[in-house]
Subunit: 311 residues, 2 copies
């Protein structure tokens, strides 16, 4: 047979793809989980792309590589899998057991109409960024991220606090070199943090700061604010770290619940088209509710739905 | 970012792809190994595609599935990986540990100019067959295959003979339903067996019978035979199991070494273009030499080289 090759194969329906990038412990999963719940499990595939390790933990340690080094990962295969998902094809994703530090049975994944991809590297290369319709980078202050990572890894993954701190220090150079630079490629940068002026009352949820880059078309925020959302949020232009002017939406953690609910509902009228606000929106890792998180998730749902309406 | 997708990515050079299909223990590896050695490790990638199991051994056993059932395998992913290799792309191949019956670290494989794929299913679907330039099915008499499989699995894989026989019986329905039907899609069907008329002297290597289908262009065998190769081989037309007329080349195990070497050398003049005959050709699993195997491998090398010359 002279090479009658099938170069592509049958192409499935193209899903809407969202990337949630950010360092380890930055709150990617908390952000993505509420979104997936809002979309519904039958229409949404959630994937973590941190399992493309070239080595198991013992080998990585012997080679003095961290999991954040591109050399320690098959990033070309991660790209290939993102491309396959983007054209509606299934993948056989490697599975790394984070407790044992070894590999397990790979996972067969077929993309549903919405695909949420979280991980350390989804915005690392041009090829992988090109697979997404909307890209987000989660960027909490480092001190807060360390606190979150320590909480997660000491409760869920069996490490001591001292071990997690040592690991954070060991990873810092790779984090600075490979993870944080991905921030500049996101359509939306999300930062959860207490208000810088200390105006948050004790126990209030973190304030959400969203940098809204002009690479996607954002919802009509000015009209929301004109309709009385000003007590819970504000919109301004700031100069980003890279020197560029950018829109910044702040959703204040200190807002009274009734004030915070107002923009959440108004935004949901644009996004939800008559449906109820899904319960999972705004749910924190500890089960508590955060209106700033809910509004952030609504913003992302807005973009995902836009993609559907525009096709 | 509005979906600026990269549907394919950069395409590598297309390798020449050979499929060696056949049931478990049919001699695929023995045939493929000499070929890979002749081509040279830097120009050849050898892959076994029997690791796309959907379940580990315990799960498969609980579901009463054999490894030969398409339901027990991610054959769509095997196809996808063959397609990727055929366009010069790397794959992350799952790895199944045949001793333990569980999964291990997946293997990163980048196709070299020649890719030899052996396995149970490479000729199973139209899509996977389309990835190959030359396809072979190894088809020894069942009795001989059972003997070979028992020898391999009791020495290399830690089973008892009774266990292997039980497993062979359990697999027989799937073998008949899914594996043996692939025979009809091969360009060349290879059968090693003692001569049917009992004319082989004791200790002689098996006779090779090659069905040469007209789906590829075979070397000028008639002129080889006219040049005195007739003591070692014969060429005839037979009616295949499916009722079609087909060329059959027999290379006799009983031939005296000097007679057998004649066609091997003559064929090598066509294939090797001045190089020495590689040592690995004709090497059996136990290290002994078989001229019929060497000539079979030369026939396959002829086809692989043809593909290169024709491009």
């Amino acid at each position: 047979m002279t090479a009658a090759r099938a170069a592509g194969g049958p192409v499935g329906a193209r899903p809407v793809m969202l990337a949630v990038g950010g360092d380890s412990g930055s709150g990617k999963t908390t952000l993505a989980r509420g979104l997936a719940e809002a979309i519904g499990p039958r229409r949404c595939t959630s994937i973590c792309v941190d399992d493309y390790h070239r080595y198991d933990r013992a080998q990585r340690s012997a080679l003095r590589l961290t999991a954040l080094s591109p050399q320690a990962n098959h990033l070309d295969i991660m790209e290939q899998h993102l491309q396959l998902l983007a054209i509606g094809q299934p993948i056989l994703k490697p599975v790394y057991d984070h407790r044992r530090g070894t590999f397990a049975r790979p996972e067969y994944l077929r993309p549903r109409p919405f695909v949420i991809v979280e991980g350390l590297f989804p915005l690392f290369s041009k090829l992988s960024r090109a697979c997404f319709d909307v890209t987000v980078f989660v960027d909490p202050p480092e001190e807060l991220r360390h606190r979150w990572k320590i909480r997660r890894d000491t409760t869920g993954r069996g490490y001591t606090e001292a071990e997690v701190r040592r690991e954070l220090a060991r990873r810092e150079p790779d984090s600075a070199a490979y993870i944080r630079p991905q921030r500049r490629f996101a359509d939306i940068v999300v930062r959860f943090a207490p208000a810088q002026d200390g105006s948050d009352p004790p126990g209030a949820p973190s304030t959400a700061e969203l940098l809204l880059r002009p690479t996607v078309q954002h919802p009509p925020l000015a009209s929301l604010l004109a309709d009385g959302a000003g007590a819970a949020m504000d919109l301004g232009v700031v100069r980003d770290d890279d020197g560029n002017a950018v829109d910044r939406l702040r959703v204040h953690g200190r807002a009274a619940p009734e004030d915070a609910r107002l923009p959440a509902r108004a935004l949901w009228e644009v996004v939800g088209r008559g449906r109820e606000i899904p319960r999972g929106l705004g749910r924190l890792a500890d089960g508590a509710h955060s209106e700033p998180l809910a509004i952030t998730q609504e913003m992302l749902l807005f973009h995902l739905m836009q993609e559907v309406y525009q096709r």
